[in-house]
């Protein structure tokens, strides 16, 4: 995943399900119902890694969040070029050494340990309170 995938994800988030399928060249059969993502429930997911590397979670015909997993060819520093403003740091479920930096105004969260990125979330811009309530689930303390 390069920073370009994050930009693409931000564009895909604006589309309807029908537009999304057309844009990616995917089929309705590629959408798996009955899943959830962290705090978001009653979702379906579109995942065609040959067409786009992210998992696109949908509800009511609209993308709710796009999840990009463990990139190898980009860094948090590079991704910061996509977002603007100061992020808010939250504990990351990826591990004690990881930091979950949320840029709510841009609708992006990056879980990383330095330049090692565990995952990126792209979601509709919202307030931090909304993000923490609707999407984020704080991991417990890493005790071992």
């Amino acid at each position: 995943m390069a920073a370009g995938d994050v930009r693409t994800a931000m564009e895909l988030l604006e589309l309807s399900e029908e537009e999304l399928l057309a844009r990616l060249g995917a089929d309705e059969d590629d959408i798996e119902p009955g899943v959830r993502y962290e705090g978001l429930e009653n979702l379906s997911v579109l995942y065609r890694p040959d067409l786009f590397p992210g998992r696109i979670y949908l509800r009511d015909g609209r993308p709710q969040i796009i999840y990009l997993s463990a990139p190898e060819d980009t860094t948090e520093t590079e991704l910061r070029g996509v977002v603007h403003g100061l992020g808010v740091d939250l504990p990351s479920r990826a591990g004690k050494m990881f930091n979950h930096r949320v840029y709510v105004e841009a609708g992006i969260a990056i879980s990383a340990d330095g330049d090692e990125i565990a995952f990126v979330e792209v979601f509709p811009p919202c307030s931090l309170a909304e993000y923490e309530h609707d999407i984020y689930r704080e991991p417990g303390p890493f005790i071992r």
């Binding site: 009955g34 993502y37 429930e41 997993s69 591990g95 417990g140 303390p141 005790i143 071992r144």
Partner: protein, 388 residues
Amino acid sequence: MKERSPAPQVDAVERSARPRTRPESSRVLDLQRSAGNQATADLLSGAEHSEGPIGAQPVQRWTETVEGEDVEVSFWRMKKEKAEAAAIIKDIKDKYGIALDSKATIQGIKDQYTNVPDKVKNSLETQKWRLIDLRSLQRALAFYAPILGAQRASSTRKDDAQEVTSVGKVKQAINTNKPIGKLDTTTLGEYFRAKKNMGLFKASEGYKSDFPDEGDQLTGTFIHEIAHGLLNYAQADFIAATDGYWTDRNTKSGKAGAEAPITEYGETNAAEDMCEAAMMYFLKPNRLKNGDGAAAGTHGNPCPKRFAFMEKIGKDWVPPPPATPLIDDEVKPPGSGDDKVMFAEASGGTDGGGGQEYDIGELTSTPPGESSAPPGEKPGAPEPTAVA
């Protein structure tokens, strides 16, 4: 167990008025003054007692240096316990290629927590080992014997360097790698990949959340931390084996009914899930297979897929789950005449496994006179974290 106050300081005038003694005599006198006086005080005050070689007596703890590490031993069994500690340290070094090195743990923390102020990192302190720690470490390492030390060369892991080469004990860990990072009191253990070191922390003392017995809990913590190193190579296979519970290392699929981790902590991410599965597989295999009575899809549910995964990689290099009286609540007390159990140690895949006999007295990690779980206590019953 109580911390004992050090011997009262003797001022210079008093010291100079005393007859000179040889160094060894001086040490004995120091012992007599501190431990002896404390013993008398405890007897008079009715403080905690234990059965020692000369009958009921106060529990006296003493710190000895063994192979460069501080080890707490019983004052009344000092020679025997010091010898046991030395034997364990030598055994794990010779057999498993793992050194006890608490300073390496501190260095591992310093190297890893790069954003934490030096003032915090420089306040890290080593912590004395207890015999129960050493016994539990030895017990945990035995489960990984086929891929440790010299045996690793004849295992399927021979082409990769051993991922854990030292273990240390440190008073406190650091809570987060940020400028606001500080010493914490909740971390039980932590693996430091760059240093190939795992650390045990003082918070583990008295902690019993997953198992009612402290020795089991300590062994489980060691198994878990070591798994972060030794089993990391199998992470992708583990995710695939859990039948869709995990999308990847960090994210659950949300798939309804997918087999959930055996513990709540395992829900954190797939790496923690795998280490928890390893802990349970080695210590309580039936509990992993059959669960804690939780409904499917929630932690504590039966985990036959995780059990099968552990069994599968075990066929390459680990022993099969011990079908022993240690499983669940069937442990017979030492001396009951049925004390021998077998922990098969696969011999590098050449003959499909051998066997090593352990005495239950060695495997039950609580030394005489130290606290243990009450009999019949429900496995996995949550208890508050005992943080020193």
